[in-house]
Symmetry: C2
Subunit: 338 residues, 2 copies
């Protein structure tokens, strides 16, 4: 599979996913049991190193090449007053990313990651899902393919984030379509909605669900109907990473919702991915629980733009440094358990 | 106050603590409101930068000089079979720290922190608290002073950790003396105790509490009776950091218990400190709740040796990078809220 040119390609790719490398994971577990610490005492740091190795297929994982992709899109539903900010901010923030002035630029520098920002037809917002599908199948596949093709095959770790005024509304509607419930369950305050804005957001989600009668329907159809281009691109990038054996850190609510259709279509399709942090956005904790994914950090962040995913790279670097650099009991002459 | 030579000195120091710099914190909050992100959307990253600035007394906080101090001690109570490891491991792990082979060495390198390890009379364990006081007043003050004097006045941030076979038993008994409850409430599996070991640990804690009739008594007396030298040193270092206006990251259960007497003696005495991570050690979550402190990370770690505190430095570095490096709305030409 060299790319995604159709829904048929996408489904075929999902039906034939690479599995993790059990031998690499076993080699890592064996070394961890010999390092000078009580067994399991580094907790999730140990799990995360084993996860890196399993998906990289390496007994000694690497984080030499950490790639952060931020996809940006505009949303027809933004016209319904569902965001605290005007839609103009999407393109302005893309310019801010390119100028190095956003949070994600600083975090990438701090953790040693390479940032690439990919705007997706910002001057052509998706359709307002309360009135029509957000995307045609062709538009959806084009965005998926853009995400798929953006993944550098040589990356050791991929962080996925997004920017798009109105996209927590899209993500909420998508989560509702996949998992049940409506605006009441899934809508959060996004960039800082007031109460009237929250009412409009819940109404838009419920109107979309009602119009398209989509509950528990095909996950790809749900993404075409509700998801913006940046969500479709994250779906494509998550799939490409699996094919390239690259572990993935999903950022917050929108990125998790964007990848969720893969898990609904194919069990285990997100085994190569972790949710980097639990967003303060209201629906995220429940979404992670539904997917059986436990976020690594929980710092009340709700910025998006890959910020939580990039921040988590520092935890992985420390975890890997312990794994590769610690002495064993034998090397250090430390007594073992009584 | 140049040091701590007596309990009188210690109490005098506590009665005259420096307060935080409200102007610095206000300057930080003002800048945060102008940066290109929704207000508050970096969550705890924003809180932590304000906390750094408040205690450093700087509107632009620094993390140029991050110091990790790990104190090590041996415990008479270890002879009661309360640890999965023999007491010989304390000195062996100190040697491992000095040789660069432990987890804390790798994490310090990963996050850019300077490690110093301070063994405290390892060949003279404290008394077994089921039979006598762990320390005399003179021994206690000597350990407090060692910790106090070890703090480099120039540090921008201080991380405090410990090593000592048996010291979760000491910390549990100390927490019980300060906060109520006994072995059932406070004992955890430490480095990996089996069920019979857990029974011995709970019994030792309850026997100590019973012998010394210490519940809710003077916090310093509780530390002399139950605490090891490394706990007393952490208490002293936490106090010195406050006097030098250095923010403190406390590591897990033992470090938090060690600092807890300060909070019991003087309200606000730990305002310059954060609990870096919630340890998997059973009593830690409850101890933090009692102290009104919310750990920053929660990664099932239970290693001690300052590992969780040092790991958290990476989060602070990213938070500070955002604060210092991001563009404002005006600079970036990004529209503000509708």
């Amino acid at each position: 599979m060299n790319g995604i040119a159709s829904v048929v390609d996408l489904r075929a790719s999902l039906a034939d996913l690479p599995t993790g490398d059990d031998d690499a994971a076993a080699a890592i577990a064996k070394r961890q049991s010999r390092l000078t610490k009580p067994l399991g005492s580094l907790g999730r740091l140990e799990e995360l190193v084993a996860w890196l190795g399993r998906w990289q297929g390496r007994g000694a994982p690497r984080l030499d090449d950490v790639s952060v992709l931020v996809f940006a899109g505009n949303h027809g539903v933004a016209a319904r007053g569902v965001s605290a900010y005007p839609a103009s901010v999407t393109a302005q923030m893309v310019a801010n990313f390119e100028a190095g002035g956003a949070a994600i630029n600083q975090i990438c520098k701090s953790v040693g990651a390479t940032l690439r920002v990919i705007p997706l037809k910002l001057d052509a917002p998706t359709g307002d899902f309360t009135q029509s599908q957000a995307m045609t199948e062709a538009e959806f596949i084009e965005a998926v393919a853009t995400g798929y093709d953006a993944v550098p095959a040589s990356a050791d770790l991929l962080c996925l984030g997004e920017m798009g005024i109105g996209n927590t509304t899209s993500a909420s509607a998508l989560a509702a379509a996949l998992l049940g419930g409506g605006g009441e369950r899934w809508a959060g305050r996004g960039t800082g909605l007031d109460d009237p804005g929250m009412a409009r957001k819940r109404e838009a989600i419920d109107a979309g669900l009602d119009r398209h009668q989509i509950h528990h329907a095909d996950p790809l159809a749900a993404c075409m109907i509700f998801g913006g281009r940046e969500l479709a691109a994250i779906l494509g990038a998550t799939l490409a990473a699996r094919r390239h054996r690259i572990p993935v850190l999903l950022d917050g609510f929108v990125a998790t919702a964007a990848a969720a259709p893969l898990a609904r279509l194919q069990q285990g399709a997100l085994d190569h991915a972790q949710v980097a942090h639990c967003s303060a956005e209201a629906g995220h904790r429940g979404l992670c629980a539904e997917l059986g994914m436990r976020p690594i950090l929980d710092l009340d962040m709700r910025l998006g733009e890959g910020s939580g995913a990039a921040l988590t790279v520092s935890v992985l670097r420390a975890a890997l440094a312990c794994h590769l650099g610690m002495a064993t009991f034998d090397e250090a002459g430390v007594d073992e358990r009584d």
